[in-house]
């Protein structure tokens, strides 16, 4: 599914990702943890195609397709979905119109006709239920007036609507109370299948009690410094990041 090899990326001349490699197979859930500022959101943005970042080295493919050469919209059409850490409000763009456009753009890319209005609304209803997202969408602007939790739920709702191959969840758990967290996790678990994959970025182990990952990676200073199974997350929860930081920093100093 997703293959990242030796990825280097920088912004404003400052290197943030410094040789990151990761393989995600269909059906898998990978958690990426790491202290603040380690480059987790940068990785998510680079995968989704944000143009502020410059990829200086490495390659990223999705089912063999080179993503790095593609515009963000084409990556989305190929099946990449980023649930934003900070979903923005866009006043004047209606939720429903936006969603309909997104759904139909992906369909058009696959050579399918626009979805019938009835089917679309049916799916909206069904998927809203899935993430217990009962905010009224009609006649409202994108994310406008939504609470922090509603915005996060809206991201997962969109995910459910668009059915991507690869979903990247960037700290979807932050700002969610425990009930909302459970609901979002249930939604994701329902959507998991042998044909898709999830990269779950989180700062805390908490979310991983609900979305159980196959692999856990620790990102620090732009590199994956440790990989393991869900036990690694528990270990981090217990010991914090400091021991890892120290061992990485020590190794760094040793090589200099």
């Amino acid at each position: 599914m997703l293959s990242i090899k030796n990825l280097h990326a920088s912004i404003d001349g400052k290197e943030i990702l410094k040789g990151l490699s990761l393989d995600v197979k269909a059906g898998e859930v990978h958690a990426i943890m790491g202290p603040n500022g380690s480059g987790k959101s940068t990785l998510a943005s680079v995968l989704a195609g944000r143009e502020d970042y410059e990829v200086t080295e490495g390659e990223v493919t999705l089912d063999g397709v080179n993503l790095l050469e593609m515009a963000p919209e084409d990556r989305a059409r190929e099946g990449v979905f980023l649930a934003f850490q900070y979903p923005i409000e866009i006043p004047g763009v209606s939720n429903i119109n936006f969603l309909k456009t997104a759904v139909n753009e992906i369909r058009a890319y696959k050579g399918l006709p626009p979805m019938e209005a009835k089917e679309f609304l049916q799916r909206v209803k069904e998927k809203q239920k899935l993430v217990e997202f009962d905010a009224k969408l009609a006649n409202r602007s994108l994310n406008e007036g939504f609470s922090g939790g509603e915005k996060k739920r809206n991201e997962i709702f969109q995910l459910a609507m668009l059915e991507p191959k690869l979903s990247i969840l960037d700290e979807t758990d932050s700002g969610l109370d425990i009930d909302a967290l459970r609901i979002v996790a249930n939604g994701v678990n329902t959507l998991r299948s042998q044909n898709n994959a999830f990269v779950v970025i989180t700062h805390y182990q908490r979310l991983l009690d609900y979305i159980v990952p196959d692999y856990v990676h620790v990102l620090y200073k732009g590199k994956i410094v440790r990989s393991g199974t869900k036990e690694l997350a528990l270990e981090l929860e217990e010991k914090g990041y400091d021991w890892l930081k120290q061992s990485v920093d020590a190794a760094e100093n040793a090589t200099i």
Partner: protein
């Protein structure tokens, strides 16, 4: 007898007027008004950039051209397709180069409505009561010129209690084979308890020569009357406009102006002055300018509160592409007697073109103390975060930009009372965007 001389428009006009050659001068009952107005124009001449209200608006290049002062073919055929607003139920009145054309205009058979070409209206008592009573009180020399020498335009009046079942669409079409200066003078009087929609469309006939139009409209909205006034500029590049609208409102009246300019006309200056001359008056001024190429669009508005308990609301949005320039100058006066005034003004600008320019100037002059007034101005570009968000959801870049421009304009377009016009304007926005 109209001669074309290769001198400035000012000299041409003065010479013609003084020799009695401008047809407009030959209406006996208007003689005094005309002569007086002409003297006013002659004293000032055309506005120059030395005048505060014309600081960014240089007429000189236009005035250096030589113009025909009358169309050589007044009965010419014109195509009106560009004025069609699908879904709009309207009576159509057509002015070709400012002149009323009965052959192209609908007859409005509804009770209580009168439509007359300017030259036929001069003996009408309502016309006589109102003509040149409002716009000429301003210091705009272009109004004086129009009063002195126009002959085109229409007079529309609604008698007490008349509520029109359809809108009136007033189509201004520019069509000439040689460089033409034209003027129309319109007067619309809505008597008590009337309600109407006026949709003005400015278009250019295919292949028409360059033109400069100096149009003046006076609008009287009497007690408890309501006018929804759409003003849609979709003329071609060769057309240039100097438009002045002077609105005079009475008690409990409502005047809504929706002023929209789209890529095309090279030079547009609109003066829109609304005088709230009575208590409990409400006025709304909405504007959208979508500029492109080297277009210049200048909207100067005055909202003049002189009596208590009135409300005005103004919102202008400029979306400027390429090397286009917009001017927004919004004056709000709240006179000493205008206590309990509510006045709101907002101007938002989106600069898309690297060489696009906006001059924005709110001007509040408040002499009363118990009032609520606010104004604001913003200038921005495309919001990169919003663009990325949309693109990350599979929406192509061009469509994402279009969505964001629509979103930007939405505060204004959602206020359009007439949904056919609103949809039309939405389509014009989409068509006018050249983002690729």
């Amino acid at each position: 007898m109209i001669t074309q001389v290769s001198s400035s428009l000012y000299q041409q006009i003065v010479a013609n007027f003084e020799e009695g050659l401008m047809v407009g001068a030959q209406v006996p009952s208007l003689d005094t008004v005309r002569k007086d107005a002409f003297e006013r124009f002659k004293r000032t001449g055309f506005p120059t950039t030395k005048m505060e209200d014309w600081k960014y608006t240089n007429l000189q290049p236009l005035l250096n051209e030589s113009y025909m002062l009358e169309d050589t073919l007044p009965e010419r055929n014109v195509g009106l397709e560009d004025a069609v607003i699908s879904g709009l139920d309207a009576y159509r009145i057509v002015l070709v180069n400012g002149e009323y054309r009965a052959d192209l205009s609908d007859v409005i058979a509804e009770h209580g409505v009168q439509v007359l070409p300017f030259l036929e209206a001069v003996n009408n008592p309502i016309f006589q009561k109102h003509f040149a009573q409002y716009a000429d009180k301003t210091d705009n020399p272009l109004v004086a010129l129009n009063t002195a020498s126009n002959k085109g335009g229409v007079f529309i009046s609604l008698s007490d209690g008349t509520v029109l079942s359809k809108a009136i669409q007033l189509v201004h079409i520019m069509a000439s084979s040689e460089t033409l200066f034209s003027q129309s003078r319109n007067l619309m009087v809505l008597s008590k308890n009337t309600k109407a929609q006026l949709v003005e469309s400015f278009i250019t006939s295919d292949g028409s020569a360059k033109s400069l139009s100096n149009n003046v409209s006076e609008i009287v909205v009497e007690e408890n009357a309501q006018l929804y006034h759409y003003y849609i500029q979709v003329a071609g590049e060769q057309s240039n406009f100097l438009n002045h609208i002077e609105v005079h409102q009475k008690k409990h009246s409502l005047y809504n102006n929706y002023n929209c300019s789209f890529p095309g006309a090279s030079f547009v200056r609109n003066n829109i002055n609304v005088r709230l001359d009575d208590s409990a008056v409400e006025s709304h001024l909405y504007g959208i300018v979508l500029g492109a190429r080297k277009q210049f669009v200048d909207n100067h508005t005055i909202v003049d509160h002189s009596m208590p308990h009135c409300e005005s609301y103004e919102w202008y949005k400029n979306i400027m592409q390429d090397e286009a320039t917009a001017v927004f100058n919004g004056k709000i006066f709240v006179q000493l007697d205008a206590q309990k005034t509510n006045a709101f003004q907002q101007n938002n600008n989106m600069l898309i073109g690297d060489k696009a320019v906006v001059y924005s100037k709110p001007q509040l002059e408040i002499f009363a103390d118990d009032v609520k007034c606010s104004h604001g101005c913003t200038i921005g570009q495309f919001d990169d975060d919003a663009l990325f968000y949309l693109r990350a959801r599979a929406i192509g870049e061009q469509q994402a930009r279009t969505l964001l421009v629509h979103a930007f304009a939405y505060d204004v377009t959602e206020k359009f009372d007439n949904s056919a016009v609103r949809d039309y304007v939405d389509r014009l926005i989409e068509r006018g965007l050249n983002i690729a």
